[in-house]
């Protein structure tokens, strides 16, 4: 697959853009933040998005989705990045639905169509330590998971737990199960994450997702798809901050001229432009590599996440500096992007984690 968008892809992007701009402007995130909304995202808007087919873009059509690829899904989340839209696509679709698709027929049927319809929110918990002990044909989960995306609001939690002798295995946990507790943790970007507590949470053998000991293998694939998509979201945010900053350089006057006429700023803007174009290429290629099932997809995904993380942080830091005093006010949206940049750069592996992984996958 090449880089150019087909007519269908352009139409999808236009639909996504229109929806995101209308329903999920930055004011939406601000409103949730300022009202201390306990959920941190809007279920009604998520359902509306689903009704337009935007939630299930990359979910296979037999499970209620559009059956398109990551390239298409990337177009949607890129638009979300433009407005810092707090929607649970990463937790529910990229991580959740993808993990569930590795499950049994009935596990898929039960949850995936409901995800595509915008009815179910799913979280995947993978950082922390949970043990699963066999007891009377069931599994008893004990331990804790932290910084789980949308974990406080999920209708279903998938957790990776260590099973004696067979190793890490995925389990589906209903949040109303006895012994399960959760609490939202506030992060600087106002987007929701949660800590999860498992105190002798008993689940049936049918709650196991994938093979016993098959957790890491499923997780590896699911994480890579999510990393590529998160990179696309970051790309959208990067573009937005760049556009706003270049506009400011043209509008803002000092010494009687637009500050964008000063070479000290011009050159930095031009350098950012180059960094962003390179970032765009690797993000688009990583998404396409996943769709094409290329052998080096994991390598490209790590390159994409590393670059998007670095460029996003560089872009927001430059944006704040170039905006001057107004850049550090809460009133200006740039600060929201600054906060998001640092969180997104930390999510799903930092730039240095991915550089190390890239090196390992390259054989050095």
């Amino acid at each position: 697959m090449g880089f150019l968008l087909s007519e269908e892809q352009q139409a999808l992007r236009a639909t996504a853009r229109k929806f995101v701009q209308a329903e999920l402007p930055i004011a939406h995130l601000r409103a949730l933040r300022d009202s201390n909304d306990p959920v941190g995202f809007s279920r009604p808007i998520w359902k509306k998005m689903a009704a337009l087919g935007l939630v299930g873009v990359a979910i296979p059509s037999e499970w209620g989705g559009q059956g398109l690829g990551y390239a298409e899904c990337g177009l949607l989340v890129e638009e979300c990045g433009h407005t810092l839209a707090p929607v649970p696509w990463l937790s529910t679709v990229a991580l959740g639905a993808n993990a569930l698709l590795a499950g049994t027929e009935s596990q898929r049927r039960e949850v995936v169509p409901a995800i595509a319809a915008g009815e179910k929110i799913v979280a995947l918990a993978f950082s922390g330590s949970v043990k699963a002990n066999r007891r009377d044909g069931k599994f008893v989960l004990s331990g804790a998971m932290e910084f789980v995306f949308d974990g406080h609001a999920a209708d279903l939690v998938i957790v990776i737990a260590d099973v004696e002798e067979v190793g890490p295995t995925l389990f589906c946990v209903e949040p109303n199960t006895a012994g399960f507790a959760r609490r939202r943790v506030a992060l600087v970007d106002s987007r929701p994450v949660a800590h999860l507590q498992f105190e002798a949470v008993s689940v049936s053998a049918a709650a196991m997702l994938g093979e016993p000991g098959g957790g890491p293998r499923i997780l590896e694939t699911v994480l890579d798809c999510s990393r590529a998509l998160l990179s696309a979201e970051m790309l959208g945010s990067i573009d937005e901050v760049f556009i706003r900053t270049v506009t400011y350089l043209k509008d803002r006057k000092q010494f009687g001229v637009p500050i964008g006429s000063f070479q000290a700023l011009k050159h930095r803007a031009a350098q950012l432009f180059c960094e962003i174009e390179l970032c765009r290429s690797i993000v688009l290629d990583a998404l396409r590599a996943l769709d094409d099932k290329r052998e080096n997809a994991a390598l490209l995904v790590s390159a994409a996440k590393a670059r998007a993380s670095d460029v996003f942080v560089q872009m927001v830091n430059e944006a704040v500096q170039m905006h001057g005093g107004i850049g550090v006010t809460d009133e200006l949206d740039i600060g929201l992007f600054l906060k998001r940049a640092k969180v997104a750069a930390t999510m799903l592996g930092s730039a240095s984690f991915h550089r190390d992984r890239f090196a390992r996958l390259s054989g050095y």
């Binding site: 270049v246 690797i282 550089r355 050095y364």
Partner: protein, 396 residues
């Protein structure tokens, strides 16, 4: 489409049959480049044979009309040839400023007479051209050039000096920017003139660089008489033509792609050799990270060139500007060369001593050579100015 697939099969078959095996191996160094011209040298017989075979089919300039020595291919067929050559790893039969830069300009601005006289020898690799742009007082500010051409009957009399003329001492002809009207506005008084380097009054002097090599020359003109029919376009059109010519640097950029792909992975090979490996990993974790940064940048740069080429081919505009590739590619190349020398330690800093292998000695020289890359052909700062103005629309 069926026609294109047939064409692709035919051309691939021809390349597989007639491209010698040595011409399908990666370049080992600049010594293996073939430049053609009257003083042409070939580093091996296969190189000569490959050029001859390509010339015979007009494939050196595939998209040029047959009457001018080309193959008369459509743009689609020419790009299929290009793709198949890349796929099969075929080397370019000849490197040529005439082919890449002057040819397209003559096809657009040249008279019929000029096309007939100059294009076929370029397509045959028989005439080597050099570019006379920079002057001692006109570097980044190219349009301030002072080399004068005064019309005297049916001839121009040229006086002045060019500098940084690549391989002027080995070139047969020069396409040159001269000032024909000293009273006109800065950009309007410039013309584009073709000068036979064998004309009395033309002298060249190689400039020795820090790398010890001399790819550039100073070129002096002292009452050089040039037939007036060697003026391309009209008097005063020079700046327009020069800008058009610079656009063809994109062709050069896309050619750089192969080389770029070859470069990915070289740093880690070098580190394995000079720094060492433990458990399959380069020993020094900090170095490993720095290598990865550059390898990732090379990868992203290559993908961006590919994306840009697709955008151009689809007629969706020029994509990210060529200035970006010039700026980013050369700065990246400098960082890469710097790190290569660092990885090899003292063995990457040898100078004309049998203690060192050829590869080690070229590490030193290529590092030094790379310092010029962000200066020649428009400095990095000029490229950033162009991006800021043309792409971002920032005010002067």
């Amino acid at each position: 489409m069926a026609d294109q697939e047939t064409f692709r099969r035919e051309i691939a078959g021809w390349l597989e049959q007639y491209c010698p095996a040595t011409m399908r191996s990666p370049y080992r160094g600049e010594e293996e480049w073939v430049w053609g011209g009257k003083q042409a040298t070939f580093w091996c017989d296969d190189a000569r044979l490959w050029l001859q075979r390509m010339v015979a089919r007009g494939l050196v300039a595939p998209a040029w009309p047959r009457e001018f020595g080309g193959a008369g291919f459509s743009a689609e067929h020419a790009s299929i040839l290009d793709e198949e050559m890349k796929r099969l790893g075929c080397r370019e039969p000849v490197r040529s400023l005439g082919l890449w830069m002057l040819g397209p300009v003559l096809l657009k601005f040249g008279s019929d007479e000029q096309k007939r006289a100059h294009l076929p020898p370029i397509a045959r690799g028989e005439i080597r051209w050099c570019q006379g742009y920079s002057e001692p007082g006109a570097g980044s500010d190219l349009a301030s050039l002072q080399t004068r051409a005064v019309l005297d009957g049916s001839e121009y009399v040229v006086n002045g000096q060019k500098v940084w003329t690549s391989y002027a001492d080995k070139a047969d002809w020069m396409f040159c920017l001269v000032r024909t009207d000293p009273h006109a506005a800065k950009h309007a008084g410039i013309s584009f003139l073709l000068i036979d380097m064998a004309t009395p009054g033309v002298t060249t002097r190689p400039i020795k660089l820090i790398s010890g090599r001399s790819p550039f020359c100073e070129t002096f003109f002292s009452d050089v008489r040039v037939p007036a029919q060697n003026l391309v376009g009209k008097s005063g059109d020079g700046w327009t033509i020069a800008k058009s010519l610079l656009e063809h640097e994109r062709a050069l950029m896309s050619r750089a792609r192969d080389q770029n792909a070859d470069e990915e992975g070289q740093l880690d090979d070098l580190a394995r050799q000079y720094v060492g490996v433990s458990d399959g990993r380069i020993l020094d974790a900090v170095l490993r990270d720095r290598i990865t940064q550059i390898n990732m940048d090379l990868l992203c740069n290559r993908l961006t060139m590919k994306r840009s080429a697709e955008t151009v081919a689809a007629g969706w505009g020029s994509g990210p500007e060529s200035s970006m590739f010039k700026y980013y590619g050369t700065e990246l190349g400098k960082r890469r060369r710097e790190l290569m020398v660092e990885i090899a330690g003292f063995r990457g800093l040898g100078w004309e001593d049998a203690e060192f292998s050829q590869r080690e000695l070229s590490l030193t020289r290529n590092w030094l050579r790379s310092r010029a890359s962000s200066i020649e052909g428009g400095t990095s700062e000029i490229q950033l100015n162009i991006i800021a103005k043309r792409v971002l629309g920032l005010p002067d």
